[in-house]
Amino acid sequence: MIPLAHEIAVRVTDLSYRYPDGTGALSGVDLVVRRGESVGILGPNGAGKSTLALHLNGILSGDGHVEIMGLPVNKKNIREIRSMVGLVFQDPDDQLFSPTVREDVAFGPLNQRLEPEQVDHVVSRALRWVGMEGAEKRSPFHMSFGEKKRIALATVLAMDPEILVLDEPVSNLDPRGRRTFTELIDSLNVTKLIITHDLEMARSTCNRLVVMDGGTVVADGQPSSILGDPELLERHGLM
């Protein structure tokens, strides 16, 4: 069934990208994500998953076409695109650069030109969502890894994105941190693209899985059919 245009959150058409040093990262990626879907992107290291994520809000721009909520990703639309696509990076130390949590969470909303009174409200709401209320004055550097992950998520949620792109959200977390963070992600009611190696999380959180390898999409389907195909998982280094 062809989805209606207004139902489409992300449309990637024939996207290819080469890093400046000549390494090919993406070759002819096609992907359509409907609104409200929770799509897991699986694949071995170097499959191009993170590179694809960086194309979704125009940090990188390769050959091909990327559309977010019907809006092509280009220089002109970049501000709107970045408000709609929230990218959470793998290493929270890359995401959290401010001396205090509050400034970091406020950074996105301020760039969206929100009024200062609104910003305070948005910051405390985002921190409440991730279960870190009252952490405004703390320094991200002093936090545990799990707390940093939560704050990194809050910095993006504060911008009220339509689409959340999470790069390895549970890597390096201990089992309990993994579980609570997964539950937190489940509770968010937005379109989600989740890059992960964690098959358990892919099973519990995603309603569709996409397997990438060698810079292209090699499988796309229901979690039960993808995860129930050991040969596929083996072939692409997932098992």
Partner: protein, 254 residues
């Protein structure tokens, strides 16, 4: 190593801590400039400047030992630079010490350099020890110091510890493979580690920038929450600046 290294006492509660950073910057920099342009032949203005520093320090409730050790850090540098001046200076009256001649003008120069350096450093230590680093940078920004400097300093403050951690991890991994660093031919290893650390920091900088761009960063930092100068801030600037300038003017007119 922790953030305490820089911000250990900057979050205490005291009249000085609660002043607007801009007031502290303006007052203490005025004091520094006036002190530096006071001729060293008169000793009493320096007593006034030093007394002001002592009063502010007492009001800040910072531990005296902490302040003293921080201020005395500069002494060795002064000694190296200026200690020979009294012996080398030519002209003017001098005292004969047998082997050496000690020039009176040279002694005055040594005294001037020492007292000015100590008072200036004491002002800067007071400023940084009573203001959280971050607020200090905001203060400078709002006094129109170019963003480039304050941003570079703020990023250094945020990431220096991440980079030190990275260096420590590399060091541990290296030592685990039985590296002792005793031989000259092992110096190359240290050099390559420094290179690797630089590359990693560079890559991290790119990722940080990508993460910032993802949140709509377009090269200008958003401004937020401009505190207002209160009466106490203005009184502080007026008192410090007028006392220092008055002392300097009296010297000028005498």
């Amino acid at each position: 190593m922790h953030h305490d290294f820089i911000d250990r006492y900057s979050r205490l509660a005291s009249p000085v801590h609660s002043l607007d950073p801009r007031a502290k910057i303006a007052a203490l920099f005025t004091l520094i400039i006036v002190c530096v342009i006071t001729p060293p032949e008169e000793w009493w203005p320096f007593c006034i400047y030093a007394a002001m520093v002592v009063v502010i320090a007492a009001a800040s409730r910072l531990p005296a030992k902490y302040l003293l050790t921080r201020v005395l850090v500069v002494l060795p540098f002064i000694v190296v630079v200026a200690i020979f001046v009294p012996f080398m200076h030519k002209g003017g009256p001098s005292f004969d010490l047998g082997l050496f001649h000690v020039s009176q003008d040279g002694l005055i120069i040594l005294w001037g350099v020492t007292i000015k350096a100590l008072i200036s450093v004491a002002c800067l230590v007071l400023l940084s020890a009573t203001t959280p680093f971050n607020d200090l940078m905001h203060g400078f920004e709002r006094l129109r110091v170019p963003h480039f400097f304050t941003t570079a300093a703020a990023f250094m403050y945020r990431y220096i510890f991440v980079i030190i951690d990275e260096a420590e991890r590399m060091g541990r991994a290296r030592d685990s493979r039985n590296f002792h660093g005793r031989w000259l031919w092992q110096a190359g290893v240290v050099g390559r580690m420094a290179g690797t650390l630089f590359l990693r920091s560079h890559e991290r900088a790119e990722r940080v920038f990508e993460a910032m761009s993802s949140r709509g960063f377009d090269g200008t930092f958003p401004r937020w929450q401009e505190g207002k100068m209160r009466a106490a801030d203005c009184v502080f600037i007026a008192m410090v600046a007028s006392t220092a300038i008055a002392a300097r003017l009296v010297v000028l007119w005498k």
